[in-house]
């Protein structure tokens, strides 16, 4: 593709990077990325990918903006309260960068629609807050051989891992979803708002690295950090032969909707009213 003068100016700081250049920027502009969840992680991910010029950004989220979201979900503004998150996010993306084509899915990712939705994208980013969907994204991406970035935040901690076909998947590390309500989510236990930005921008950087082929992805490594100590740690992992979805004797061969934590469903219902 030929860049216009305006695009050369817009993306000049990428083009100046020796590892990216015009060629790398073209790859970004041709990239198609699906963001699952337009919340704490999805917000910075969407903002940075939009600014970077990712050609097509899909956003899936069934919720509307709640006042309690604004402490960290920086893509949503005060007048957006009660607006569907995907609409609010699309508006900001278009304001940042009209080059970006935004596809919105105002629904939940489910076992029924996951494979169909992700097939149109080069890369999937997990910005969800619950384990059923985290495992669903993992299983769908492993089955469809689709690279994705896992991200999780809680209180003062964050963790992320990038998957490409053949590398350790989320289930290699975490065999199966925790029982409903066993592990608190942010809506139950709280989270320091800036943590979402810290982790989301790491995930966004991984997407841009994947699209441009620059550097070493966070594959076979789980990055964890704690904001209280500001200590970062990467834990090396290998694909787990006993992994239920990518191991040598997989037991997970199709997609399942795991049970949601009860209070998440209740908070979800509340938002509908």
């Amino acid at each position: 593709m030929d860049f216009t003068e305006e695009q050369i100016q817009r993306y000049s700081r990428h083009i100046l990077l020796q590892d990216v250049g015009v060629e790398g920027q073209e790859k970004i502009n041709n990239g198609k990325v699906l963001i699952v969840g337009a919340g704490g992680l999805g917000a910075p991910i969407a903002l940075y990918l939009a600014a970077a010029g990712v050609g097509t950004i899909g956003i899936i989220d069934g919720d509307v903006v709640d006042l309690s979201n604004l402490q960290r979900q920086v893509i949503h503004f005060t007048p957006d309260v009660n607006k569907p998150k995907v609409i609010s996010a699309k508006e900001k993306i278009n304001l940042i960068n009209p080059d970006v084509k935004v596809i919105t899915y105002q629904k939940l990712l489910t076992a029924e629609n996951a494979l169909e939705i992700i097939q149109d994208y080069d890369f999937v980013v997990d910005g969800t807050d619950n384990f059923p969907v985290k495992f669903l994204i993992n299983d769908a991406c492993v089955i469809a051989k689709k690279p994705f970035s896992h991200g999780g935040i809680l209180r003062f901690d964050g963790q992320t891992l990038t998957y490409v076909p053949g590398s350790a998947c989320y289930r290699c590390l975490f065999h199966s979803p925790p029982p409903p309500n066993a592990v608190p989510t942010c809506s139950q236990a709280g989270v320091l708002g800036a943590i979402a930005g810290m982790l989301g921008t790491i995930q966004a950087a991984e997407v841009l690295k994947y699209l441009t082929g620059v550097g070493d992805l966070l594959t076979n490594r789980l990055l964890t950090f704690n904001a209280k100590t500001m200590e970062f740690r990467t834990i090396k992992s290998k694909p787990n032969d006993n992994c239920p979805v990518c191991g040598s004797h997989p037991t997970v061969t199709g997609l399942v909707d795991y049970e949601q934590a009860v209070c998440d469903i209740e908070s979800h219902r509340k938002q509908k009213h």
Partner: protein
Amino acid sequence: MSKISVNGKAQEVETPISITELIKLNNVAQPEMVSIQLNGQFVNRDDFDSTQVAEGDELDFLYFMGGGSL
């Protein structure tokens, strides 16, 4: 006493000690939900009781982290 490392931090423990006992010793809040790597290899939950930790072993305790959307 044997020197091992847990999540990158040195620990001295009385050996022999199983992974189950080490989890207890480290006051893991939800032991049924921690994933364990021993020297870079995942240990099956069923083997936590029978797997012994020895001098110089490096262990990683991995915890679930949700968070993001709602």
